[in-house]
Symmetry: C2
Subunit: 147 residues, 2 copies
């Protein structure tokens, strides 16, 4: 999670919502790293999780990530949670809970339906405060800049 | 929807789950077209809707599709429905309902939560039978090939 938080800091410095993500192999190796790039790529789906998952599959030349772990600083939104389901990721470890935009423990609760094709292990709230502080600082800065 | 069904047929011919999608401008012009490319791209997120939405934004050099319509032959999965939400698409017109994998009228019901940032108009069941027959034929063919 320290590495994911560093990636989130990179997003912050780039003017992106500070979220960082990485994919870890069953052997504990980091396969891919990414941070939010919605503004840079002008693509609202360029979330850290999607970019890290895509990168991992491209590097491994495969389309599923069975046995792999997604680590991300913020609770994934419904799109990212459902993408992780399509990738058949085994475990999602996330930092801050996101009652407004999260789709794992809130709102759509992607893995809680009987239609859910795949249910990864979920570990939320890891280094929650660090992630929350980063997000809070970012949005405070955004508000003060836009005034 | 006829054009989306033609695109779904292209997916069928390419050995992909037959789903086609297009994005239509507020003036009624087709902005982008795509069909499922999960196998070709070895990317489980390369659904017709995601590809059509990405292409539309790239062509228009913008990151939101306010006023635009997504037409797709099958009820979007939760990932695609949530992506359409991030793109702020105004209307989703889909063909066959998908009780197993759909995320608009089934399962995660992406737009039915108070956390949903955006609620497009939904028109489902348009030329439902044509889409259903195509999907049924595809999976029948898959089963007979794998026996």
């Amino acid at each position: 999670m320290d590495i994911a938080l560093n990636l989130a800091n990179c997003a912050f410095d780039a003017g992106e919502v500070p979220v960082g993500a990485l994919v870890i192999s069953p052997e504990g190796q980091i396969v891919s790293e990414a941070f939010n790039q919605v503004e840079k790529l002008q693509n609202p789906t360029a979330h850290a999780e999607i970019l890290a998952l895509e990168k991992a599959c491209a590097l491994l030349s495969r389309k599923r990530l069975v046995g792999y772990t997604l680590v991300v600083t913020l609770e994934p939104c419904p799109m990212c949670a459902a993408a992780a389901m399509h990738y058949r990721i085994d475990r999602i470890v996330f930092g801050a809970y996101d009652p407004k935009g999260g789709g794992v423990e809130h709102g759509a609760c992607i893995f809680s339906h009987r239609q859910s094709l795949h249910r990864p292990e979920i570990i939320g709230g890891v280094q929650e405060q660090e992630s929350q502080i980063l997000l809070k600082n970012f949005f405070q800065q955004m508000r003060s800049t836009s005034c």
